[in-house]
């Protein structure tokens, strides 16, 4: 896959290269965000781009996310293709209204007359010891929002490919960058052709359990697959790449083979992507399932302080524990077997009739 032109690049530099290519290819592309100019962004993802393309194409904006998103909408009305940087995941919410009510809906609102080819870049997820609001995984909010596409790359090559595909898409795309992988290095083919946004990738082949994940946890899941192999279990790891829409075709064919599904993500469990994947795969592959889909996720808590984040973010051991569960092997949760405990702990249910 890595052609002659492959360069060894960090994830961050690969995205930077993709942005550079997008800016060079199409004068309608422009970058907007806080501190993306001379500073090159707090993660240096836009490093050098303002010097190369000028202040008109790489625009430091005032400190107001709704303002950034709303002016991006106006620029899209005028035919531009804004690429917006949200500095950290937790700072996207002031722009939530513009995203949900405008960016996602304007193409539909106008019966296709207006397109909103806006890319919203968000460094997301935890694991880098950050303060509050700097480690969130907001993907479920966007995946539930019709009109948006959501993607997350897991390798430098995907970083490059997907940012180009996102910018080239005529739909708005939320592009979630797994910030704790920014320093991962790998060869990147900068001459790779433009690829479609949607397909998932088979990151590792296996036969016993299908392990679905995306973004930052792909690496962890690949490590889990290696560890599991040593333990006699063969994991098939699927890297979603596209979180909306989800490429269920690949997942379904894998689950029809393995009969077992584990989904891993950092976001909170309730209402997270794991629920959607479990529900859809159960609908479509019920008769193939040997065990209910297992979710290994962050807890239903606010993302914790740095010193505690390793408890919250699923790691190798928690993923393997989930795999053991899917395989019916002994696992930590045997003593809290859900099948043995019909009524949840601490439930104060008072089942009166509502009539």
């Amino acid at each position: 896959m890595t052609g002659a032109a492959a360069e060894n690049l960090t994830f961050g530099k690969a995205i930077n290269a993709g942005l550079r290519a997008a800016l060079a290819d199409d004068p309608a592309v422009l970058l907007m965000g806080e501190d993306i100019g001379q500073l090159g962004g707090v993660f240096r993802i836009t490093d050098g781009l303002q010097d190369e393309f000028g202040e008109d194409r790489v625009v430091d904006t005032p400190l107001a996310e709704s303002g950034i998103m709303g002016t991006a909408v106006g620029l899209a009305y005028r035919g531009y293709r804004p690429v917006v940087e949200i500095q950290f995941d937790g700072f996207v919410y002031p722009s939530f209204d513009q995203i949900v009510s405008q960016v996602a809906k304007l193409h539909h609102r106008t019966h296709g007359a207006v397109t909103m080819p806006i890319t919203i870049r968000i460094p997301f997820g935890g694991g880098i010891g950050s303060p509050e609001h700097h480690s969130e995984s907001p993907e479920a909010y966007f995946v539930h929002t019709a009109g948006l596409r959501v993607v997350s790359p897991s390798t430098p090559q995907e970083g490059f490919d997907l940012i180009r595909a996102a910018v080239a898409s005529n739909d708005p795309v939320v592009y979630l960058e797994p910030k704790r992988r920014y320093h991962d290095k790998a060869p990147v083919d900068l001459t790779a052709p433009l690829r479609p946004l949607g397909p998932a990738a088979l990151a590792a082949q296996g036969s016993d359990v299908t392990l679905v994940t995306y973004g930052p946890l792909v690496k962890t899941c690949l490590q889990a697959a290696e560890a599991a192999a040593a333990d006699g279990a063969s994991l098939e790891v699927i890297d979603l790449r596209s979180l909306s829409p989800i490429d269920f075709g690949l997942i379904e064919s894998s689950v029809r083979k393995t009969g077992r599904l584990v989904i891993a993500h950092e976001a909170s469990r309730t209402g997270g992507l794991g629920a959607e994947i479990a529900a859809t795969v159960t609908e479509r592959c019920f008769h193939w399932l040997e065990h209910p889909p297992v979710r290994v996720t962050g807890f239903d808590i606010p993302y914790p302080p740095a010193k505690l984040e390793h408890h919250h973010v699923p790691d190798l051991d928690r993923i393997l524990d989930g795999v053991d569960r899917a395989l019916g092997r002994p696992n930590s949760l045997d003593s809290l077997d859900p099948f043995a405990a019909p009524v949840p702990l601490g439930s104060t249910s008072d089942h009166t009739s509502g009539a």
Binding site: V73, Q102, H111, A146
Partner: protein
């Protein structure tokens, strides 16, 4: 009338103009001189005034027709603009074709003057569509319901104009209530920072549903933009000439790299907030009556009479034009078909989306069981 200088102060010292109400036509229809606005009214002829009269008459007729249509169950809802005809007509005629309008839900008069078919407005407000026109056909964006959101769109569009080196401006409309929203204030920040060729056109109609403007702003709305570095004019919104002059001035300033301008058009919402609203619950009849005396169409008629024009004749002309338009509108309404279920799935995305295709196909199969409208297969 005060001299509202539009030249931004060269020092960092505050330099806020007198926010007297700019007015060139008194409620009695007398033309009064105004140092700032007169240069923008040099081409005013009786013919132009007659045309403005017809514009306002037609706008008012669309408004009353649609209010009737709502009462008759043809429309789901209608937001009347009664009383705001001068603010809408005066600003609309000041625009050039290349200028781009970002309206709220109440700019149905501006829509009309931008060439939007009234039937498009009807389709919108009967709940058949969210946009009864193609924005690019009229340089008139989809109407905005989220209060204030469009102010940022106008600024972004204007930033694009600057980048394109184009000879155009954007104009964002919103109400007095909208000035409380973060988005409108952020729009001023961005407009100032990027020196965007944008005009903020605020129709202060004194009410945001049941809330008086005094709850939103403790000072005149036009006082606020200066602190953001944006010059502002406070104009009599029921004086069509003052509004036209101020808007021309602001748009011209924008087109000539002068940056953003804010216009507060002081007017009054004579009707309910929408046809679903009951204003007697929260405001006094006397207040409404006092504003009736400032009616924008009456005022122009008085002025035309003062100029010696045959007001009866031109009113008859305007009314005839309005009657014709209303008849056409009603005929159009009678012929309207309901939207197709395909509209549910079309254009949610610009590019193929396999999960939504699947839902569409599911629903097609589902509908096939019934007699009602069907979904076509395989069309996106």
């Amino acid at each position: 009338m005060g001299s509202t200088s539009l030249i931004p102060p060269s020092t960092g010292m505050p330099h806020v103009p007198e926010p007297d109400l700019l007015q060139v036509l008194t409620p009695e229809g007398h033309r009064r001189p105004d140092h700032d606005l007169d240069p923008w009214l040099e081409d005013v002829t009786p013919a132009m005034l007659t045309s403005l009269h017809r514009d306002m008459t037609l706008i008012r007729r669309i408004d009353t027709e649609c209010t009737h249509l709502q009462r008759q169950g043809e429309l789901a809802l209608w937001p009347p603009l009664l009383g705001q005809e001068a603010a809408q007509a005066g600003s609309a005629v000041a625009m050039q074709d290349d200028d781009y309008v970002f309206p709220s839900y109440r700019e149905n008069g501006v829509a009309y003057l931008r060439g939007v078919d009234p039937l498009g407005l009807v389709r919108l407000w009967r709940g058949a569509t969210f946009a009864g026109w193609k924005p690019q056909d009229h340089n008139f964006a989809a109407q905005q319901i989220i209060i204030g959101a469009q102010a940022l769109h106008a600024v972004g569009y204007a930033m694009g104009i600057t980048r394109d080196g184009a000879d155009a401006a954007a104009i964002g409309y919103f109400g007095d209530g909208a000035t409380s929203q973060g988005d409108v204030n952020e729009a001023m920040v961005f407009a100032a920072s990027f020196h965007a060729p944008v005009v903020f056109f605020c129709q202060n109609n004194h009410w945001a549903i049941s809330e008086p403007v005094g709850l939103q702003a403790k000072r005149h709305i036009a006082d606020r933009p200066w602190g953001f570095g944006i010059p502002a004019m406070r104009v009599d919104g029921n004086d069509v000439l003052a509004v036209m002059a101020a808007t021309r001035r602001a748009l011209e300033r924008a087109r000539n790299s002068g940056g953003p301008t804010f216009i507060e058009a002081v007017t009054y919402r004579m009707g309910p907030h929408t046809t679903a609203d009951d204003p007697t619950r929260y405001r006094d009849a006397e207040e409404v009556e006092a504003w009736r005396a400032k009616d924008p169409i009456d005022r122009l008629e008085k002025h035309l009479a003062e100029l010696g024009e045959d007001v009866e004749a031109l009113t008859a002309d305007s009314t005839a034009a309005a009657d014709a338009m209303a008849a056409e509108l009603r005929a159009g309404v009678a012929a309207l078909a309901d939207p197709e279920p395909a509209d549910l799935f079309d254009h949610v995305y610009a590019e193929p989306h396999h999960e939504l295709e699947r839902q569409r196909e599911h629903y097609r199969l589902y509908l096939e069981q019934f007699d009602g409208p069907q979904l076509e297969a395989g069309v996106r």
